[in-house]
C-alpha cells in the first residue's frame, strides 16, 4: 500500500499517477518536476512561442490530473502518455486558422529543408537517450525524416504533406511507415531493455 506519509519522490511514475488519481497533490507535483521540462520543450517546439507553450503545458498537466485514473500502462510510460497529450493538443492548436500563417513561415524556414536531423548536442536529455535519438533519427533517409518532421512537428496531415511535396499520398504514407518502422528497429537494436 502506498501511504501518503511515504516520500513521493521515491515512487515510480506509475505509482505516483495512482496517487494522483486519488487526488494527491504532492504526487502530482513530483510528476510535474520530473516531466515539465520535456513537456514544455515539446510544446515550444510545436508552437514556437513561449506563452503558447506555457498554456499548452498547463493544459496537458491538468489533463493528467483529470484523467489519471484512465491511464493504461499498456500504451506506454507515463512520460510517453504525457508527451502524447502535449502533442495531440499541440497539433489541434496548430490546425486552427490563426496558426496557419505561423505554420507556413515555420515550414519555409525549416521543415522543407529535408534531412536536417536534430543536433543531438542540442538535445539535452540523458546521454544514453541522446545517443539513441541520434542513431534513430540520424540513420533515416532524408525523405523519410522530412515526412516525419512535417507530420509530427508541423501537425500536417498526410494529405497536406502530399500536396505540399507534390508526391502521391501513397508515397507519403509509405515514407511515414518506413521511417517509424526504422526508428522502432533502432530502439530494438539498442536494447529492448534500457531501464
Amino acid at each position: 500500500m502506498v501511504s501518503r506519509a511515504e516520500d513521493p519522490r521515491r515512487l515510480a511514475d506509475e505509482d505516483l499517477l495512482a496517487l494522483v488519481a486519488g487526488g494527491d497533490e504532492r504526487a502530482f507535483a513530483v510528476l510535474y518536476d520530473r516531466h515539465a521540462r520535456a513537456a514544455y520543450s515539446l510544446a515550444f517546439r510545436l508552437l514556437g512561442d513561449r506563452q503558447a507553450a506555457e498554456d499548452l503545458t498547463q493544459d496537458a498537466f491538468l489533463a493528467v490530473w483529470r484523467m489519471a485514473s484512465s491511464y493504461s500502462t499498456a500504451r506506454g510510460s507515463v512520460r510517453t502518455w504525457l508527451l502524447a497529450i502535449v502533442h495531440n493538443r499541440g497539433i489541434d492548436r496548430l490546425r486552427t486558422a490563426a496558426a496557419q500563417v505561423r505554420r507556413q513561415e515555420a515550414l519555409e524556414r525549416e521543415e522543407l529543408r529535408a534531412g536536417a536531423a536534430p543536433d543531438a548536442a542540442d538535445v539535452a536529455i540523458g546521454r544514453a537517450e541522446a545517443e539513441e535519438v541520434r542513431s534513430a533519427l540520424g540513420g533515416l533517409p532524408a525523405e523519410q525524416l522530412q515526412v516525419l518532421q512535417l507530420a509530427y512537428y508541423g501537425g500536417f496531415t498526410h494529405q497536406e504533406i502530399s500536396s505540399m511535396l507534390e508526391v502521391p499520398l501513397g508515397t507519403v504514407k509509405s515514407r511515414m511507415h518506413l521511417g517509424l518502422t526504422r526508428i522502432r528497429r533502432t530502439l530494438t537494436a539498442s536494447g529492448v531493455a534500457e531501464a
Binding site: D15, R37, A38, T181, A193
Partner: protein, 230 residues
C-alpha cells in the same frame, strides 16, 4: 472486417501514430485495433517510435512561474469523486512467478480474474490478461477468443547484454517451442505477436541469445498458464 479493410487500415497505421491521419481514419483504426491484436501491436510499436521524435526536440527549461500556475489550477479543480483508487496490498512489491508451482497458481488466478471480453464488429473476442512476472516485470497478454493470435506485451524488463533478447515460448504439454523474439517498444518494453496457439498450455518468456531457437535456457521472467480452451 475483410482482409482488404485490414490491409487498408494497416497502410494508415503510421499516419495515425503520428497524428497525421484524418479523424475518421484514426477512429476507424482505433476500433479495428481493439479487436485485432496484430494491428494493436503494430500501432503501439509505431507510437513508441514517435516518442523518439518527442524526445528529439531541443530541451528548454520552463519558467518557474509555470509550476505555480499549474499547481494553483489543480487546487481550483473540483474535489475528486468518492471513488478514490486504492491499491491492493503488495502492488509495489516485486512478485516472483517462476519457478514455484504456487506462484504459477497465482498467475493462473490472475489470469482468471483478468479475463475481460471485448466484442466488436463481428471480430473474434479479444481477451486481455494482466501479467505479473519476476522482479517487477509486468505486462499483458491479448489473445483472440479463437486462439488464432496472441500478443504479449511486457514492461519493466531489465537490460540485456548485446546479442541477447527476450524470447517467447509456446508450451504444449511439457514441450516449449519458440514463438520468436520480442520487439522493443521503448525502454524496458517489448512485445511480440504469435499465431496458432492450438493445444498450447502455457506461454513463457526467457532471456536468450538471439541465435537460440532450440529451447529455453534462461530463467523465465513471466509464465502464463492458458488452461483449457472453452
Amino acid at each position: 472486417m475483410s482482409t482488404a479493410d485490414h490491409d487498408r487500415l494497416r497502410d494508415v497505421l503510421a499516419a495515425v501514430a503520428l497524428g497525421a491521419a484524418t479523424p475518421e481514419e484514426t477512429a476507424e483504426v482505433e476500433r479495428h485495433a481493439d479487436s485485432c491484436p496484430v494491428c494493436r501491436e503494430e500501432l503501439d510499436g509505431l507510437r513508441a517510435a514517435t516518442a523518439t521524435l518527442a524526445a528529439a526536440v531541443p530541451q528548454v527549461d520552463p519558467p518557474r512561474r509555470l509550476r505555480s500556475r499549474v499547481m494553483a489550477a489543480v487546487r481550483e479543480e473540483p474535489p475528486r469523486a468518492a471513488a478514490r483508487r486504492r491499491r491492493r496490498p503488495g502492488f509495489l512489491t516485486p512478485r516472483v512467478v517462476w519457478p514455484a508451482a504456487a506462484a504459477v497458481a497465482t498467475a493462473a488466478a490472475l489470469a482468471f480474474l483478468g479475463w475481460s471480453l471485448a466484442l466488436r464488429g463481428g471480430q473474434p473476442p479479444v481477451h486481455t490478461v494482466e501479467l505479473t512476472g519476476q522482479a517487477g516485470v509486468r505486462g499483458e497478454l491479448l489473445v483472440t477468443g479463437d486462439r488464432d493470435a496472441a500478443v504479449v506485451r511486457l514492461r519493466n524488463l531489465p537490460r540485456l547484454a548485446r546479442g541477447r533478447g527476450w524470447e517467447l515460448w509456446v508450451v504444449r504439454g511439457t514441450t516449449p517451442v519458440s514463438g520468436g523474439f520480442m520487439t522493443g517498444t521503448g525502454p524496458g518494453r517489448a512485445s511480440v505477436a504469435t499465431a496458432d496457439l492450438s493445444g498450447a498450455t502455457a506461454l513463457a518468456v526467457t532471456p536468450e541469445p538471439r541465435t537460440n531457437t532450440r529451447g529455453p535456457t534462461g530463467r523465465m521472467v513471466v509464465v502464463v498458464p492458458l488452461g483449457r480452451r472453452g
